[in-house]
């Protein structure tokens, strides 16, 4: 491990020696174990370790980058020389450059990123978990009889970052996931329906049990039996948490500093405005202990922080890396990738409503369980995506629906988020509770 840390610092020095004014090197090492099981048998078992080095050099306010998975001296030397030589091709840009300051990041141990038990999970145990999850899933309902497979994935990795301004940092992290995909068909319609469920965490203790994942998957399949299309209409739309989390991931692209300074966001110029409904608070939190998006510092070495993006409906902050922060006259929020921005834990904060109360408020509308396709234009905010879900009548689920689209404009959708649920949980870097949007167009027949 010491060797990898030295690798980062050594290549910063080498880049400087080759003529770079500033240099930054990130070294990454990760080990993956993938256990895939189907119909009780092992389908695939993959285990491997990979390494890579990424480099940025700056010269006269110009930047060049290079990366390699071949860490031999001769390859890296040639890439470093190439990058320093190429930097002059770029246009001078007074916003280019490394961060100026590096406030101390939180100690990695305080963030719950690494779990020795998760790190030690062996192939036998991964296969057992996957097999058990699938076995239970296929035993619960005769109609749910086919499996796309169950998978258990373990990742452990370490990052070393060093730059010519004296920053040197490192952290290690683990991740674990367990997932199941099932299919079923009921007697009435011979159409196959399918759905999945998964758990993803940093710790072994945090992983949902095979039983929970199996039961949830089966319930998710069962509720789609006999789905039909609905007539085209305007209606309230309730997003269940998994679908709402996808909405958050769409929204993230519109609050990055890069999208804003390039005018590629419908939220450019809206800072300080009441854009969303008053119950909407959206946060990017890089410090949340154990979060899948948690890290002590970003790819540029800037310490992680908790950034309110929307507070009670008001757009408070864009998420910036060093470059976009300089362009917008703001401060980096610790979301830099050296090439745009990445989320940490980006979520819609829990609201006051029980999910049942949200459902109960809808006389006639759609409950979205899955989304399909792209169809989000961040420049205009236009939103149109394929959907699966359940039709709501008089506050209750009436029947499942499929082959429909939901459309609207993200700005209006934010303003129309009239009820935010209390059921927030983190299954991904993006998370949201149940949320109701006052009105969208549902297109069907």
């Amino acid at each position: 491990m010491r060797a990898m840390e030295q690798l980062a610092e050594r290549w910063v020095e080498r880049a400087r020696a080759a003529g770079a004014e500033e240099a930054e090197v990130m070294v990454h090492e990760s080990t993956h174990l993938v256990c895939q099981v189907r119909q009780g048998a092992t389908e695939m078992l993959t285990e491997a370790t990979s390494r890579s080095l990424q480099l940025r050099v700056f010269l006269d306010q110009r930047v060049a980058r290079a990366s390699s998975s071949d860490l031999r001296e001769s390859t890296l030397e040639s890439l470093v020389r190439g990058a320093v030589g190429r930097a002059r091709l770029a246009s001078p840009d007074d916003c280019a450059g490394l961060p100026q300051e590096f406030p101390a990041p939180p100690p990695p141990e305080s963030l719950g990123l690494f779990d020795p038990e998760a790190a030690a999970l062996a192939a036998e145990e991964g296969l057992r978990l996957a097999r058990e999850t699938e076995r239970i899933g296929l035993s619960l309902d005769a109609r749910v009889g086919n499996s796309g497979g169950a998978g258990c994935h373990r990742g452990r990795g370490q990052v070393w970052l060093a730059n010519s301004r004296g920053f040197a940092g490192s952290y290690r992290a683990t991740s674990l996931s367990l997932s199941l995909y099932l299919l079923g068909a009921d007697g009435a319609s011979h159409e196959q329906v399918s759905d999945y469920w998964y758990s993803a965490t940093r710790t072994r203790a945090g992983l949902e049990s095979p039983e929970t994942i199996a039961r949830t998957t089966v319930e998710r399949v069962q509720r789609h039996f006999g789905a039909r299309k609905v007539a085209t209409q305007e209606a309230p739309v309730v997003f269940e948490p998994l679908a709402a989390a996808e909405l958050l991931s769409d929204l993230f692209g519109a609050v990055t500093g890069e999208a804003v300074h390039l005018r590629r966001s419908f939220l450019a110029g809206a800072l300080g405005e009441l854009v969303a409904a008053e119950g909407v608070t959206i946060v990017d939190d890089g410090l949340m202990p154990g979060g899948l998006g948690t890290r002590p510092f970003d790819r540029e070495g800037v310490a992680a922080q908790r950034t309110p993006v929307f507070e009670n409906g008001v757009l408070r902050n864009y998420l910036c890396g060093t470059y976009s922060a300089r362009r917008l006259g703001r401060k980096s929020t610790g979301n830099g990738t050296g090439n745009g921005e990445a989320p940490s834990n980006f979520f819609l904060a829990a609201g006051p409503y029980a999910p049942e109360a949200i459902l109960g408020s809808v006389a006639r509308g759609l409950y979205v369980t899955r989304l399909l396709g792209q169809g989000v234009n961040l420049v205009t905010g236009d939103y149109s995506r394929g959907a699966f879900g359940l039709w709501i009548e008089d506050g209750r689920f009436a029947y499942p629906v499929h082959e429909i689209t939901i459309s609207g404009n993200l700005r209006a959708m934010l303003a129309g988020m009239e009820m935010v649920g209390s059921d927030l949980e983190f299954r991904d870097q993006f998370a949201a509770p149940t949320v109701k949007i006052a009105v969208m167009t549902v297109a069907g027949t």
């Binding site: 071949d70 770029a90 005018r263």
Partner: protein, 480 residues
């Protein structure tokens, strides 16, 4: 230096060494094993806001070793091409094997056709030429219309040597070029403000070919930039798209993404073997109107999905007719699924890179030309949508529900294209769509856009194509 010479001279990977690795992979049993070795160089040049923002270069090197036993696959990979590292990966991959005895055969080099240039990229990186492309696109876009506010242009290319050795004695090498040029613009209409801000729209065009820099020019960069501007400015005038079921006419070329999603993915053999697809068990059945013949063809010259050899050493490749005049004839097969289904491999075992196992994938997939006159097709529609450009699609193969998202589309009224509509998603089911294709034009176009297909976490460059097509009825996800 050929790929085989490169791996032998630079990395010492000769046939004897690879045979040793294969023998180790099968030492604990298993039916077959293969080694996939890859060296990839990638370069990029990115411009935005008239500034040449950055250039990049990367190298990827590694080998993946696979052991197959029955339906089970063991896989491991390494960044180091030393004998020790390769033997270690072979042992890890063999963890799934038990019992049985399969001896690896001696390796014999196989002939590989040359459908694309294997020429090594210029030693100087051709950086000046690549920079000239992005600058030319920027200048052309800004000159095309005063409403253009932002332009970004990016050149990406890669050059990949690969070497595949299999336990049945095949030794196959290939060198694959690939480039992508993308230009994206934002146009702003100050005369039309909403919520206090000028109305903005984005337009984008890209080109991607299985070729090197010699296949692109300043003129093409400029032409793509002007097309992107025309798209953005057209969209500035666009009305809301309609919502509900109506006839849809697909423009030739990029609309092939519809076939890719609705038919291509559900015909992948892995999904069919596991009965996860709406087309499972339906070989020989009529699944589409007689007008539909769908082909996957890696042998077309220089397209994104063109290949000399697939990702598991299958050579020579041939076109695969998936649907012939409405009848389902074949699935897209890799070796594993073909063996388990008792069918022939079709050379569709593709892999993103050495970290990933081969899985059944499309190459260049298209709907064959029909006999209808494109003008007549339009004239037959009283009220519907004409789709010209797409931003992508997705399918859920179990029931075959798929979407594709139009970026540039027009209203058809009384047989004529009248006005542009804003982007929207279309949704349908693969089986219904094929039964609803009621006219197929004679104007087949293979698209040259930079399509990337995603499956199981792996990306792959693919080609799509279609003539003008009329779908009698499909749900359009607009707002009006």
């Amino acid at each position: 230096m050929s790929a085989q010479e490169f791996f032998q001279r630079v990395h010492g990977l000769d046939a004897a060494l690879l045979e040793r690795v294969l023998a180790e992979a099968l030492a604990r049993g298993g039916d077959s094993a293969d080694v996939y070795v890859e060296y990839r160089r990638h370069t990029s040049v990115h411009l935005e806001e008239t500034l040449l923002k950055e250039t990049g270069e990367s190298v990827a090197l590694g080998a993946g070793i696979r052991v197959v036993a029955g339906e089970e696959t063991g896989y491991a990979y390494t960044n180091e091409l030393t004998l020790d590292a390769l033997l270690g990966a072979a042992r890890t991959a063999s963890a799934i094997a038990r019992g049985g005895k399969t001896a690896a055969m001696n390796l014999t080099p196989r002939d590989v056709p040359a459908r694309y240039s294997a020429e090594e990229p210029p030693a100087d990186g051709a950086w000046a030429q690549k920079s000239a492309f992005v600058r030319a696109a920027d200048a052309a876009a800004r000159a095309a219309d005063p409403r253009v506010r932002e332009v970004s242009a990016t050149w990406n290319d890669e050059w990949r040597h690969l070497l595949i050795a299999t336990s049945v004695g095949e030794l196959v090498a290939d060198t694959l070029p690939l480039f992508t040029f993308s230009v994206s613009v934002v146009a702003e209409d100050n005369g039309n403000r909403q919520a206090g801000l000028p109305v903005r729209q984005a337009g984008w065009k890209n080109r991607g070919l299985r070729a090197g820099i010699e296949a692109f020019s300043i003129q093409e960069a400029e032409a793509l930039a002007r097309e992107a501007v025309a798209q953005a400015t057209t969209l500035l005038e666009a009305a809301e798209a309609p919502a509900g079921e109506m006839p849809v006419v697909l423009a030739p070329g990029t609309s092939g993404v519809l076939l890719h999603e609705s038919v291509g993915h559900p015909l992948e053999a892995d999904a069919n073997r596991k009965k996860l697809s709406v087309f499972s068990g339906r070989l020989g059945e009529t699944v589409a109107t007689e007008l539909c013949t769908v082909v996957d063809d890696a042998t077309l010259p220089r397209l994104r999905g063109s290949l000399n050899v697939d990702g598991e050493g299958t050579v020579p490749l041939e076109p695969t007719v998936l649907i012939e005049r409405g009848v389902l004839r074949a699935y897209l097969q890799d070796r594993l699924s073909a063996r388990l289904m008792g069918l022939q491999p079709t050379g569709n075992g593709r892999r993103q890179d050495y970290t990933a196992i081969p899985i059944p994938r499309m190459t260049n997939t298209f709907l064959a030309a029909g006999t209808d006159d494109p003008e007549q097709i339009l004239r037959s529609v009283e009220r519907g949508i004409y789709c010209k450009a797409f931003s992508g699609g997705q399918v859920e193969p179990a029931a075959g529900r798929f979407t594709f998202s139009m970026h540039e589309a027009y209203l058809i009224e009384n047989g004529r294209i009248t006005r542009p509509v804003r982007g929207a998603t279309l949704i349908g089911s693969g089986t219904d769509i094929l039964q609803n294709i009621v006219a197929v034009g004679h104007d087949l176009v293979m698209d040259t856009g930079a399509w990337v297909c995603g499956k199981g976490g792996q990306g792959a460059a693919v080609g799509v194509g279609t003539p003008t097509v009329k779908i009698a009825r499909m749900t359009v996800g607009g707002r009006r």
